[in-house]
């Protein structure tokens, strides 16, 4: 349903039963919209990885706004922009001054801006989780505030392949998923493919793994974990088993070329560092 902003403004405060809000906060306009929705809604649910953790667009936090704009409007290989025009927040047209929403310095998860009651994780959220959330809300059987729908345990708990995990996993031979013919009946981590199942909230039913891909962590961290990427990095570092530091460095360079993208694919804005520090604070 696409309500016009003015329609919503006219509604009474707290008159919307539930607002599902999708997407991270990128523009000043987003802040304005979600604040409005918060005021009008009894319950706000962050829907999907972007609203929950910042999501993939949150990786933009590794760059400054000017770097992003320069790349997107001038340097990207598919861009044709001979005059080098880039968007600005305001523009003086003959008809008067035009305004565009302002780009924020960092992408933020929803609860950085407003109070959020529940979270539906996932990129994209899986139907079973959406149904569970709807059932709970419609039946009035509401979980404690702040609950992330999904399992309270990591994905391994529900993964069929967990049984096949050897007693000890020590990774001597890291592989990216396209470099190995995965045995679909054995734990991917044990085959040297960095599956983030152990660090990721379960509840999805291990769909990616059933489809032959390792978990990339879209359901985010568990309740006891503050920083998804740091935890992921720390568990991977603990089980990488190379005696030779130089070799380990080379292997990591080769098989983990984008560590920020790997460990913080969905959650950089929700991490302790939030993004690249460029001085001067937010």
């Amino acid at each position: 349903m696409d309500f016009k902003k003015s329609d919503v403004e006219k509604m009474k405060d707290n008159s919307i039963d539930v607002a599902f809000i999708n997407g991270g906060i990128r523009l000043s306009e987003h802040e304005e919209m979600v604040r409005l929705l918060r005021r009008k809604s009894k319950v706000v649910v962050a829907f999907g990885s972007c609203a929950h953790l910042g999501g993939i667009p949150g990786l933009a936090n590794l760059y400054s706004t000017s770097e992003l704009i320069t790349y997107a409007f001038r340097e990207a290989p598919t861009v044709v922009n001979p005059d080098g025009v880039t968007p600005t927040a305001s523009y003086k047209a003959p008809e008067g001054e035009l305004e565009l929403p302002r780009i924020l310095k960092y992408v933020k998860p929803l609860d950085d801006v407003i109070d959020v009651d529940y979270y539906i994780p996932g990129c994209a959220p899986t139907p079973n989780i959406i149904k569970k959330a709807l059932d709970d809300i419609l039946s009035g059987n509401l979980p404690p505030k702040g609950t992330v729908f999904g399992s309270s345990r990591a994905l391994c708990d529900e993964c069929e392949l967990n049984k096949t995990k050897p007693e000890k996993i020590l990774l001597k031979d890291l592989k990216r998923v396209h470099q190995v013919k995965l045995d679909l009946s054995k734990c991917y981590l044990a085959q040297g493919v960095l599956c983030l199942g152990p660090v990721t909230r379960g509840g999805c039913g291990a769909l990616c793994i059933k489809g032959g891909m390792p978990c990339t962590g879209c359901f985010g961290p568990l309740d006891n974990v503050k920083d998804f990427g740091a935890r992921a990095l720390s568990f991977i570092a603990s089980i990488i088993d190379y005696d030779d530091e130089k070799l380990a460095e080379r292997i990591i360079e080769e098989y983990l070329p984008d560590p920020a993208g790997w460990f913080y694919r969905y959650s950089l804005p929700r991490s302790l560092v939030k993004g690249r520090y460029s001085g001067g604070g937010k």
């Binding site: 309270s152 345990r153 391994c156 995990k165 152990p198 660090v199 568990l222 503050k226 935890r231 089980i239």
Partner: protein, 657 residues
């Protein structure tokens, strides 16, 4: 635990702290922090009145957290934990702040900033203390028995000491007889007393001791359980002789027609297919070697069976396994000689007259292949010239880097063997350094070095060549005189490097103990705890910890036994307070904690259709590796939970409030 009530105590430590900062101002600051009920400063907190002060406060103010800002917890944590205990509080509700080593000693020149830092550290401790909780120490009873692995002089000494202390001992030896390397030696340095004469009485003591059970011709195949309660599986190899019937008369060994190289003679002599390791063997029960027995190889003979007066021969014997339950394990598996064929330039294995020091022992021994005569192996003639080469493989980057620690003294003893057997022989000793460090060794060295026709040359031989008559020719550069010498010797004796036994690695993994770069068992501390390991209840005796001569081995074994006796007589084992604890509700059974645990303390168990990590509370040493690895935050370490650490760090990052 309900309401948090914190007492904060700032120590002056005389002028150590009080001379730099103002402890009463720090106490004043602390008194305003969250949940702090009382904050005081005192001249010497660790003194009896200081301790009393805390104890009374705990009772009067109903405190349930105590923070002492004083010296390093390494000094006085146990002191103040004792105070809490006395006042009826769990000792782990104590938090120490090190404002001496971390503040006043290092920032004496900036007292204002030092005081600021002290306040910040106290603030962080207060924030952390909010999340402290009572820690239970698990106690398990200890099985009052011990396993000694290896029946050499180290194992013998350790077994006797344990048994004399009233502890039941199981002694497992892989060979037919206990006695080890020492039984193979003719004499011992520096006193030149007969090796067997001093060893065999101890072997007899072991055999007769009511508290010792010997499992000879056996090996440990599995170790499970933990300190105080190990389950050990031992394989009794088939001897083909029913030892319970056998009387050790030895008719069988006399009449057996099949011959085999004698291991006890380092391959020089021969033995029968049914044999004792040596005449004084303990137990005196023979074994049949199926590799040479005519019944096993050709299906004929069975002479032993026909001759045995008690019908003890049993060709159908199979491996048997027994399970032992012991509280402590002493590892005394000794050493092996480095494979001398790897030193190709010396021609060992290729030239008959190049032998090892241990082979010279066998030549010199009356029970040896030559009945005690030192001869050239190629023709049985007495050698006119003997070259003794030290550090054969030792202190050599291509072979082993460490010193064998007895080669020098053995070489000096070997001069004696040669001069005693062939008085007119010339002896060249080719050495790197003479390390005569033991009691009486230097005197021994001086005595033998001064003998006629004994030449010490500081250098290692270049390639050794064999002449037609079997004698050996080589060049050596003497760095003492700067001369290149050409030597022709009838016999070359290599004082071999020393390595851990071949099958040690698998045993080491079973025991879960670490090794040093040379492969020997790693001690808990090289100086202060050289006979203990990182695994509680497992002790090291003798050369398995590193090469040792007999006196050092015996001392080491006795120390290991004493440590084991101390451990066993305490009656119970305690878990570390810093135990890893699993929140089973959150555990996904991913198993990464078990992968990183260096003590094998974590097992993933199936429970109600789920996989859950379970911590063995005795094996866990509280290193925290699992807690740092656990991707879901389900594994926490007592006293260092994420919440405790994060609240402390956040307090520090936020600055003093």
């Amino acid at each position: 635990m309900g309401e948090v009530r914190i007492g904060v105590y700032i120590c002056h430590c005389g002028k150590n702290i009080g001379g730099v900062i103002n402890p009463s101002r720090v106490a004043e600051f602390a008194s305003k922090l969250p949940n702090v009920v009382v904050a005081r400063d005192y001249m010497y907190m660790c003194s009896s009145p200081g301790q009393m002060l805390i104890e009374e406060d705990i009772k009067r103010h109903n405190l349930n957290r105590v923070i002492v800002a004083a010296c390093s917890p390494r000094m006085h944590e146990p002191t103040f934990q004792g105070v809490l205990k006395k006042a009826g509080l769990n000792p782990w509700l104590l938090e120490m702040v090190n404002i001496r080593e971390h503040v006043t000693w290092v920032h004496e020149d900036v007292p204002d900033k030092a005081e600021e830092k002290a306040k910040e550290l106290v603030y962080a401790a207060v924030m952390r203390a909010q999340h402290l909780y009572e820690i239970t120490i698990h106690r398990l009873p200890v099985v009052k028995s011990a396993l000694v692995i290896g029946g050499g002089i180290a194992g013998i000494r350790a077994a006797l000491d344990l048994a004399n202390a009233g502890i039941k001992v199981y002694l497992v030896e892989k060979k037919q007889s206990i006695g080890g390397k020492m039984a193979q030696l003719d004499k011992t340095f520096p006193t030149l007393d007969c090796s067997k004469c001093i060893l065999t009485p101890l072997m007899v003591d072991v055999a007769r001791h009511p508290n010792i059970t010997i499992y000879a011709y056996s090996e440990v195949v599995d170790v499970s359980g933990s300190a105080g309660d190990f389950k050990v599986k031992v394989r009794l190899k088939p001897t083909y002789v029913d030892w319970s019937k056998c009387t050790g008369c030895g008719y069988c060994t006399e009449r057996c027609p099949a011959r085999a190289p004698r291991e006890f003679d380092e391959g020089l002599g021969t033995r029968k297919a049914i044999y004792f390791d040596f005449p004084q063997a303990v137990p005196r029960r023979p074994v049949i070697d199926p590799k040479y027995c005519l019944w096993f190889t050709k299906g004929i003979c069975r002479a032993c069976e026909k001759l045995c007066p008690v019908g003890a021969i049993d060709f159908n014997q199979k491996d048997r396994y027994i399970e032992l339950n012991v509280g402590a394990i002493i590892v005394a598996t000794g050493y092996e000689l480095y494979d001398m064929t790897k030193l190709r330039e010396y021609g060992y294995g290729k030239y008959k007259n190049v032998i090892t020091g241990l082979q010279l022992e066998r030549l010199s021994d009356a029970d040896g292949p030559t009945k005690g005569k030192i001869v050239r192996l190629s023709d049985g003639k007495e050698p006119e010239t003997v070259a003794i080469v030290l550090c054969a493989g030792s202190r050599d980057e291509k072979h082993v880097r460490y010193c064998c620690r007895f080669g020098c003294a053995a070489a000096i003893k070997h001069i004696y063997y040669v001069k005693h057997s062939v008085p007119e022989a010339k002896v060249f000793v080719l050495y790197t350094d003479i390390r005569a460090f033991g009691k009486g060794y230097e005197e021994f060295y001086q005595r033998l070095r001064g003998m006629d026709d004994v030449y010490f040359i500081r250098g290692r031989p270049a390639e050794i060549f064999e002449a037609k008559d079997g004698s050996l020719i080589f060049d050596v550069f003497d760095s003492n005189t700067g001369q290149l010498l050409s030597i022709k010797a009838d016999l070359v004796v290599l004082e071999s490097a020393v390595v851990p036994p071949k099958d040690w690695e698998s045993l080491r993994r079973m025991l879960k103990i670490s090794c040093d770069p040379g492969g020997f068992a790693l001690e808990l501390h090289p100086k202060l705890r050289p006979f203990e390991t990182t695994a509680d209840g497992i002790f090291l005796a003798g050369a398995i910890q590193g090469p040792k001569d007999i006196p050092d081995t015996v001392a080491h074994a006795a120390a290991a036994a004493a440590a084991a006796i101390g451990f066993l007589s305490k009656g119970e084992v305690e878990s570390t307070p810093y135990l890893a604890v699993v929140n089973e509700d959150l555990c996904s059974g991913c198993g990464l904690c078990a992968s990183v645990c260096p003590f094998d303390a974590i097992e993933i168990k199936e429970e109600g259709g789920r996989r859950i990590a379970k911590v063995n509370v005795i094996r866990c040493k509280g290193c925290g590796a699992c807690a740092a690895t656990c991707p879901s935050g389900a594994m926490q370490q007592n006293y260092f939970t994420d919440t405790q650490i994060v609240s402390e760090v956040s307090a520090l990052a936020g600055g003093a409030k």
